[in-house]
């Protein structure tokens, strides 16, 4: 029996010990008329060989196009060691480390993760993870609302240059708690949000703003003026929530350092840990990173590991500050989060250890260089231009002047190229625009292949043909 070790003999002995005649007797407290019949819509059992065949067929159906798509998920090289160790049974099949003494592996690793993440972000404190970048932003907002006692408005500014999916998830999650999320439009020339626009929205909403969100690099790949904005926010009693790509923080000024020295950076930093060792995997599992200043530590949601000592004075690790959490505080907890994304954090920690700062820097720099190379080649093509003037990091918005973005992307796909993210739905004001991304994985050859394909598609009217075909 699949995953049932019982022999007939043992079943008999066990039933005898219990004092019933059959297993079915054990369900006699369930009202008989409610008992389920056969689960017809569930197929019959397959053996491992059959399921393997099925899954290989399914996996092979998925596209193997060359990926120039980012928009929140990035194809990076992951050293083989990372998941070979992460999937060791001792990490893979353990529970949340409630019994500290029997979980020192996971606990120490998580402490190391916290240490690495605070090093990377230059923040004081990191928790052990949230679900993903988007839900982490939502929790960061709720945290800011709890933390900023001087503000009563529960109003949060969010530039529209923040990942639209993140903004949507944040809406869903903060919705019940009377928090108002206020869009701040980005500047159409630079592709970033300006202090002007922020001030304008602040005034338009009565001046009392609880916190503001700032993504670096932003959804367009543009680099925000984080210093000036952070300073202004702090001068106006507004907490700053940074949304970051942690890999990129190896080379960019990290949130803990934003603004003037005395303001000591962003108050909360969140983002998605995916670029640090998680495969794209159709969307997850990734993990949300969440960091904050020391002063906010009792407001942060999620698990936190602390270093302590045992009876002999020997160093060891435990879950700590549990009084914030639902299993202790119940309805007064900082969040309902319980299970988080531990195994991906395990992978990410091993990834960071193997890469080191230099590995991350070289990887990030390679992404930047590759994207510059791609963009240069694409904008040399008639009908393709850069949308924004701000400095970029590894993603760029391109406007297509002659053909619909959807058709161009489709035609590229037919040439084996996943050409980018179609922005026309989320940002109609940009016209036909796509967001392209290039990581260190892309070779010069592949970049040329993209440029050639784009040239073909735009010049030969290939899109029209492809549309006709697919109709």
């Amino acid at each position: 029996m699949p995953f049932i070790p019982h022999t007939e003999n043992e079943i008999t002995q066990m039933l005898e010990t219990i004092g019933v005649d059959s297993i079915d007797d054990l369900f006699d407290e369930i009202p008989a008329h409610l008992r389920a019949g056969v689960l017809q819509a569930v197929p019959h059992s397959m053996n491992e060989m059959e399921v393997s065949r099925l899954m290989k067929q399914r996996a092979d159906q998925n596209s193997s196009a060359i990926c120039f798509l980012g928009a929140g998920a990035y194809e990076h090289h992951i050293p083989s060691a990372v998941w070979e160790i992460t999937t060791r049974g001792e990490y893979y099949s353990a529970y949340t480390p409630y019994q500290a003494e029997a979980s020192q592996g996971t606990l120490q690793l998580t402490y190391e993760y916290q240490s690495m993440m605070t090093a990377l972000t230059a923040m004081d404190v990191s928790n052990a993870s949230m679900y993903d970048g988007a839900s982490s932003l939502a929790e960061a907002i709720l945290m800011a609302v709890r933390a900023n006692r001087k503000s009563r408005s529960r109003k949060i500014l969010i530039p529209t240059s923040v990942n639209p999916s993140y903004r949507k998830a944040a809406h869903t999650i903060v919705n019940g708690q009377q928090v108002e999320l206020i869009d701040v439009p980005y500047d159409s020339a630079s592709g970033t949000v300006t202090l002007e626009q922020i001030k304008q929205q602040t005034e338009a909403h009565g001046g009392d703003i609880t916190a503001m969100v700032l993504q670096q690099p932003n959804f367009f790949g543009c680099l925000e003026e984080v210093d000036a904005i952070t300073d202004w926010a702090h001068d106006n009693n507004i907490l700053v929530i940074a949304v970051i790509n942690p890999l990129v923080m190896s080379v960019l000024n990290p949130p803990g350092k934003w603004g003037r020295e005395d303001n000591a950076g962003a108050d909360i930093a969140c983002g998605d840990g995916q670029p640090l060792g998680a495969p794209m995997s159709a969307g997850g599992p990734y993990y949300g990173l969440l960091c904050c200043k020391q002063s906010l530590v009792r407001q942060i949601p999620g698990r936190i590991v602390g270093r302590t000592i045992d009876l002999d004075g020997k160093e060891g690790f435990v879950l700590t500050l549990q009084a914030r959490e639902q299993h202790i505080r119940r309805s007064k907890a900082t969040s309902n989060i319980c299970t988080n994304q531990g195994l991906v954090v395990t992978a990410s920690t091993i990834y960071m250890a193997i890469q080191g700062a230099q590995g991350l820097e070289n990887t990030a720099a390679a992404c930047h260089a590759n994207n510059n190379s791609l963009v240069e080649k694409l904008i040399a093509i008639d009908g393709v231009k850069k949308a924004f003037s701000a400095p970029q990091f590894h993603e760029t918005v391109l406007q297509l002047e002659q053909q619909p973005a959807a058709e161009v992307l489709k035609a590229l796909m037919e040439k084996g190229i996943l050409g980018g993210y179609n922005l026309s739905q989320d940002y109609p004001e940009l016209g036909e625009a796509i967001l392209v991304c290039t990581t260190e994985m892309r070779t010069e050859e592949e970049i040329d292949q993209y440029a050639d394909a784009m040239r073909d598609v735009l010049s030969s009217g290939a899109t029209v043909a492809s549309l006709a075909e697919s109709a």
Binding site: A65, E112, A353, Q355, G356
Partner: protein
């Protein structure tokens, strides 16, 4: 020793990354980082050795019996891991056009259908990334449902006092107030108290059935009636679905919305704290509110439903599609089980729990609830031992670690004093159950004769009992180089 303590300045692990750093052209100086992040500088061997050795300091299902109540620590089949990690899945960008993502979408669609069938619900969304987020989605749907009907006064969610902490925490996150309903000594909800509590302010009731006390709520039909008649909805916390899989379906009990912890019932790994999945299922009337994305089949191909298709959706809970890697593992597991294997899950999980409960009784332990069937778990209370020998449930737990068993859940549910919530799961052999019961009996004997042994436990693990108070007072949450 921390990985940071193996670090040596200037050490470089070249084979894993580009060897040279390309220039960061066109980025203004002030946006660049000053100096490198203080990550450890170790070789690949040092990292591999460190994390391999660390792993050996964990208890896990793959190495120990792990009867952690409410957590369903069953075997995580290795095939689920290796097949979910096929390159075709791992290398799929989440925004791949549906047409190029059919293999993955087919799995997700089939998974939705199988979950509907197994739970008796009309529709499922796989978006929530853990049980608690499933609860969030469910309660948010309850809110959206009432609001859509202009039924705005329903601001209260009821939960039994035995409920898991995520239940009240979730209700509050969704903007509700929470009222607790008492539980009777026999483990059933106090229906009279429930009747008293309901009213026009009642948005719904969150219930785990079988409950966290390890018994099946026999009055579930009556409870459903009370709630529904009051205009509320019934929420099913699926953490204990393992106990009844294929035996009775939440939908048939009258639940309007449920979440299922795929990382419990459907055997995706717990990973030392996730990732999980809290897929949510709904009865027909709640379908419009399901969180996105959801996969639908049209003309023999699959696509994601969008906000345009589902204008009343509560929205999205994550940037992409929940935790696909977890969902794939659950899907593979369900195909391995098939319909015949699913019902065996409940049967043998229940057999194991009742066998252990009978053995516990035989060996002189006090059960939290008497003369009831155990579901897939049951509770021993050590209040007598605590009183007579000054040993706590925690002492028992730590001593069990010494004997090579992971401890059961302690001090939950909160209403049972000095409790051990024991859930063996169906995948454990009688040999493991007997070994564990022998250990428990031995410890009971030790408590009576040599309680110091328990207080000083554990002795055989990498560390002795850790000072949690110190950890919370003298916060040390990240390594800082001296």
């Amino acid at each position: 020793m921390l990985i940071f303590e193996h670090s040596s300045e200037g050490r470089r692990g070249a084979p894993q990354a580009p060897a040279e750093k390309a220039p960061l052209t066109a980025i203004p100086e002030k946006l660049l980082r000053e100096g490198s992040a203080a990550l450890p500088e170790v070789s690949e061997l040092q990292a591999v050795r460190h994390y391999t050795r660390l792993s050996q300091k964990n208890f896990s299902i793959d190495t120990q019996f792990y009867p952690l109540g409410s957590c369903t620590m069953k075997y995580n089949p290795r095939a689920c891991n290796s097949l979910a990690m096929l390159p075709g899945f791992l290398n799929a960008h989440p925004l791949t056009p549906d047409a190029q993502n059919q293999g993955f979408l087919a799995c997700m669609h089939d998974l939705q259908s199988m979950l509907c069938e197994a739970t008796g619900m009309a529709a499922f969304s796989l978006a929530p990334m853990a049980g608690a987020q499933g609860e969030f989605a469910g309660v948010a749907m309850i809110e959206a449902y009432h609001r859509s009907r202009g039924d705005d006064a329903r601001k209260e969610i009821l939960v039994p006092d035995a409920a898991h902490g995520t239940n009240p925490a979730t209700a509050v996150m969704c903007g509700f107030t929470v009222k607790e309903i008492a539980t009777l000594d026999n483990g059933d909800v106090d229906i009279d108290a429930l009747k008293q509590a309901v009213g026009p302010h009642t948005a719904g009731l969150m219930l785990t059935n079988p409950s966290t006390l390890g018994v099946f709520e026999r009055n579930i039909e009556a409870i459903a009636k009370v709630i529904h008649e009051a205009g509320g909805l019934l929420y099913y916390d699926g953490a204990n679905l393992n106990a009844i899989l294929g035996k009775i379906r939440p939908g048939d009990m009258g639940f309007d919305v449920i979440h299922s912890n795929l990382h419990k019932t459907f055997s995706t790994p717990h990973g030392g704290g996730g990732p999980g999945s809290g897929a949510v299922g709904v009865a027909e009337r709640l379908r419009p509110f399901l969180p996105l994305p959801v996969v639908t089949e049209e003309d023999d191909s699959y696509r994601y439903l969008t906000a345009k298709d589902c204008p009343q959706s509560i929205g999205r809970l994550s940037a992409f599609m929940g935790n696909p890697g977890v969902l794939l593992r659950a899907y593979i597991y369900m195909r391995l089980l098939g319909r015949e294997g699913m019902v065996r899950v409940a049967e043998f999980a229940t057999l194991n729990a009742n066998y252990m409960m009978a053995e516990a009784k035989r060996r002189g332990f006090t059960l939290a609830i008497n003369d009831r069937r155990a579901s897939h778990e049951f509770i021993i209370t050590l209040k007598n031992e605590a009183r007579d020998y000054h040993v706590s449930a925690m002492d028992f737990a730590k001593r069990l670690l010494d004997l090579g068993y992971h401890a059961p859940t302690t001090y939950f549910p909160l209403l049972v004093p000095e409790c051990l919530l024991i859930e063996p799961t169906e995948s454990e052999a009688k040999e493991a159950l007997d070994g564990f019961m022998d250990a428990l009996e031995q410890i009971k004997h030790e408590a009576e004769t040599n309680p110091e042994l328990l207080h000083a436990a554990p002795q055989t693990l990498p560390v002795k009992r850790l000072d949690e108070v110190r950890a919370a007072k003298q916060l040390d949450l990240a390594f800082k180089k001296q």
